[in-house]
């Protein structure tokens, strides 16, 4: 092999790549952040440049994506069966909190970042509801065990990964108020899981209804 040929051969690949990138740009002339073109570039069939220009372009996260858990509540419904929305906060009114404070999530948590105080009834007996529930998100390693092992589908993994903050000692310890999110939100970010869980729940309820009859 003549000296230098291998080098030129290597450069050929580099120039092909550059050309492919410009062809992609030309195809969407004037629309540099075209979402369709971006999706193609990022897919297994993409070629040319593959970087995402964050924050203008965002790579969509898959349904299984896990980042910092949240607690699920079922919103209060109005007569038509639609969730009631608090006019002041714009959030759905809390109907039932699914969490029963059983403590499995805090026991299974590898870095031990979940702290639970179990609620008590006025008579002083333990109540299946958390009086306090903290997640220290500085310590959370996003492993998803809490969501995986929760028997009540009460804790789920969020999709919101932009948690930058100016201060970490108080704002990075999430309490119940910050953690609670409605099933409407959950069904939006985890549509398949939601459909599966609802089907399971309905099947169980149907079985229950059948039994006494």
């Amino acid at each position: 092999m003549a000296f230098g040929l291998g080098l030129l051969n290597g450069l050929r690949y580099t120039f092909t790549r550059i050309a492919k990138t410009y062809i992609g740009d030309l195809r969407h002339l004037g629309r540099s952040h075209d979402p369709k073109e971006f999706a193609r570039r990022q897919s297994v069939r993409g070629d040319g440049i593959f970087t995402a220009q964050y924050p203008e372009e965002r790579v969509p996260v898959p349904e299984n994506f896990r980042f910092v858990p949240f607690l699920v509540y079922e919103p209060k419904l109005d007569e038509s069966g639609k969730p009631l929305v608090d006019a002041k906060t714009g959030k759905e009114v809390i109907g039932v909190e699914r969490c029963t404070a059983c403590g499995i999530c805090s026991k299974v948590c590898p870095p031990q970042c979940i702290w639970i105080v179990r609620g008590t009834t006025p008579e002083g007996r333990p109540k299946p509801q958390a009086a306090e529930f903290y997640i220290d998100i500085d310590i959370c390693m996003n492993c998803g065990y809490c969501a995986e092992f929760c028997p009540f589908d009460a804790i789920k993994m969020d999709h919101d990964y932009e948690l930058a903050d100016y201060e970490r000692h108080t704002s990075h310890v999430y309490d119940v108020k910050k953690l609670l999110k409605s099933t409407t939100y959950y069904s939006k970010i985890h549509p398949q899981d939601w459909a599966r869980e609802e089907a399971d729940r309905k099947a169980k309820e149907a079985a229950k209804a059948k039994k006494p009859a």
């Binding site: 291998g6 290597g10 805090s106 590898p110 105080v117 333990p126 306090e132 998803g144 065990y145 995986e148």
Partner: protein, 585 residues
């Protein structure tokens, strides 16, 4: 060169069986063996060197897989795993007892040079002396460190309780910030009467000075010591190379490690078995799927369970995709080290992104996958997953592999820099306990997937690529060839992924692991990753040790680099493909 035969059938005598080997040892050294069982051979401390020499020379146990130690209430135990490169099969376990007061065990460095770093680690973390070791001082911790952290009575700075889960979390879990529990100035323990201003390291800072005479006769030069790193882009993380130079020629290299040390072993002993899985992701963060895989194999061995077929296939698919992307990045980074900044690397990274996209869709995270469970997988793959992998394996990745090879390996500039650089001869590669592409680059046809097939690797048809001279070029070629073999395995695996369950038994967060001891290992992209687990029947492992291929491969760096120029050192270091998360643990 002998080819690893498949493991002998049950009826034949297994030459690696501890009891069989113990009988053979007894015929030569009558009183050397204290006891022998399926768990291993307990050897008398003063006969250890004789026995290992006999094992190496006569029974061809020429490879030291792993050295670790266990702290029992009444004694210390040093555990060795040795195996044969030619014969393959399960490694043989040797054990040596040491007294609680002043524990000493003779050093194995004269027999296996790979014992060097591993014995230093045992000394560092468990405080066992190894007389006969050429350079016995702390390796992961600093010289003035107080105490031996892996001993059971040691309590780390943010110590809360002996074992997880901590009782303070539930049901009266009033949150306390870790820094409030242990203020920042209280979180370091100094030796008694420690004064930072007058502190002098016990170890000579530059022990490599004056090692050899200056080579040039015309111009007399002094030897100088240069520290490369810890903050240096070519050290692949935070490693420091203490290099002694004669002009520009390397006289000696000593890696200084531990900048990322967090005592993974101790964390693992505080954790429950299940809680360790996400921690293994953080060892070699390029290959988290295979780390999960290996750890899960180890615990499953101990529990005596097997995952369902579908889970086995998906595990293999994940492990082989991981191997492909890890090697692509390794070759890419090698080019960074050679001075071809970022363009070749990004070509490797692009394909890696696509594989990570798949991992993310499956497991929920790109790098910290946490996907395997004992007896199966965390969840089934999404519907379109197998189709996407099929497209990658059939269409895209083979082309990219060829491209990577064509523009890199056929390039004269690369050939000039890679041929006959960083040579590690076959016998030294074995002696230094190197693993993975480094070992195979030196011409040793050894791959755990063939030597001791785990999971379902015995069903696939693939070759073990090897090099001939053991130079940098061979190691790179082996990586590229292994990428092709991975694709071959993937093609076969994708063809018959069965439908069905992905988990044996019910998912449970409280896992029962019976009493026992196991060394689970698998062929990771970087080499043989091993997990030594000792269970006392409780929910937390009694002893948890990681045999890290990157760490042990680093032991051969000095051998490869001496005599080369300093620019070559960077490339030789790059060709080891180490990840500091795994080296320092």
């Amino acid at each position: 060169m002998a080819v690893n035969p498949p493991p002998p059938p049950e009826t034949k005598i297994n030459p690696n069986d501890p009891q069989v080997v113990a009988e053979k040892i007894k015929t030569v050294f009558a009183d050397a063996v204290e006891s022998a069982s399926a768990q291993g051979i307990v050897v008398k401390s003063d006969k250890l060197l004789d026995v290992t020499r006999y094992l190496r020379d006569k029974l061809s146990f020429d490879y030291l897989n792993n050295v670790t130690s266990v702290d029992y209430p009444d004694r210390f135990e040093v555990v060795y795993q040795v195996s044969s490169m030619d014969r393959g099969g399960a490694p043989l376990t040797l054990k040596v007892n040491a007294a609680r007061e002043n524990p000493t065990v003779p050093s194995l460095v004269p027999v296996y040079r790979g014992a060097d770093f591993q014995e230093r680690e045992v000394y560092d973390l468990m405080g066992i002396q190894f007389p006969g070791h050429p350079n016995l001082h702390r390796i992961l911790l600093w010289d003035g460190f107080e105490g031996y952290p892996l001993r059971k009575d040691y309590k780390e700075p943010y110590y809360e309780e002996e074992k997880k889960p901590f009782g303070t979390r539930w049901d009266q879990g009033h949150h306390v910030i870790a820094e409030d529990r242990n203020p920042w100035h209280d979180n370091v323990k100094y030796p008694a009467n420690f004064d930072a201003m007058s502190y002098k390291p016990t170890q000579e800072i530059y022990p490599t000075l004056g090692l050899a005479e200056a080579t040039s006769t015309r111009l007399r030069t002094d030897k100088i010591v240069v520290n490369i790193g810890p903050q240096h882009p070519s050290t692949h993380g935070v490693a420091r190379l203490k290099v002694t130079l004669d002009g520009e020629t390397i006289v000696a290299v000593e890696p200084v490690l531990g900048y990322l040390h967090r005592n993974h072993d101790k964390i693992g002993e505080r954790n429950t078995y299940l809680q360790n899985i996400p921690y293994t992701d953080r060892l070699d963060y390029f290959t988290s799927m295979s780390n999960n895989f290996t750890y899960v194999i180890g615990v499953e061995k101990l529990m005596g369970i097997k995952p369902p077929e579908r889970a086995e296939y998906i595990r293999v698919i994940m492990a082989e995709l991981t191997r492909w992307q890890s090697h692509a990045v390794a070759v890419g980074f090698l080019y960074n080290d050679l001075g071809a900044f970022y363009t070749p690397l990004l070509y490797g990274l692009e394909e890696r992104e696509l594989i990570l996209d798949l991992f993310e869709a499956v497991s929920g995270s790109r790098m910290m996958c946490n996907y395997m469970r004992f007896g199966g997988l965390a969840r089934d793959v999404p519907e379109d997953f197998l189709g996407k992998v099929q497209y990658l394996v059939d269409e895209r990745l083979p082309k990219r592999t060829d491209e990577l090879e064509a523009y890199l390996i056929k390039n004269e500039l690369f050939l000039a820099r890679a041929k006959k650089v960083g040579v590690l001869p076959r016998d030294l590669a074995i002696s230094y306990s190197t693993a993975g592409p480094v070992l195979r680059g030196s011409g040793v046809k050894y791959d755990v997937r063939r030597a001791e097939p785990y999971s379902i690797y015995d069903r696939f048809d693939f070759d073990i690529p090897t090099g001939t001279t053991g130079d940098l070029y061979d190691r790179t070629i082996v990586r590229i060839a292994e990428m092709r073999e991975s694709l071959r395995i993937l093609k076969q695996a994708l063809k018959d992924v069965p439908a069905g369950e992905i988990m044996t038994g019910k998912k449970n967060y409280q896992i029962r692991v019976p009493k026992g001891e196991v060394y689970g290992r698998a062929e990771n992209p970087k080499g043989e990753l091993g997990f030594f687990l000792n269970s006392d029947g409780s929910p937390n492992p009694y002893r948890y040790h990681v045999r890290s291929p990157s760490f042990i491969n680093m032991g051969a760096l000095n051998e490869m680099a001496v005599g080369h120029k300093i620019a070559d050192l960077i490339v030789i270091f790059g060709s080891l493909d180490v990840v500091m998360g795994e080296v320092d643990r």
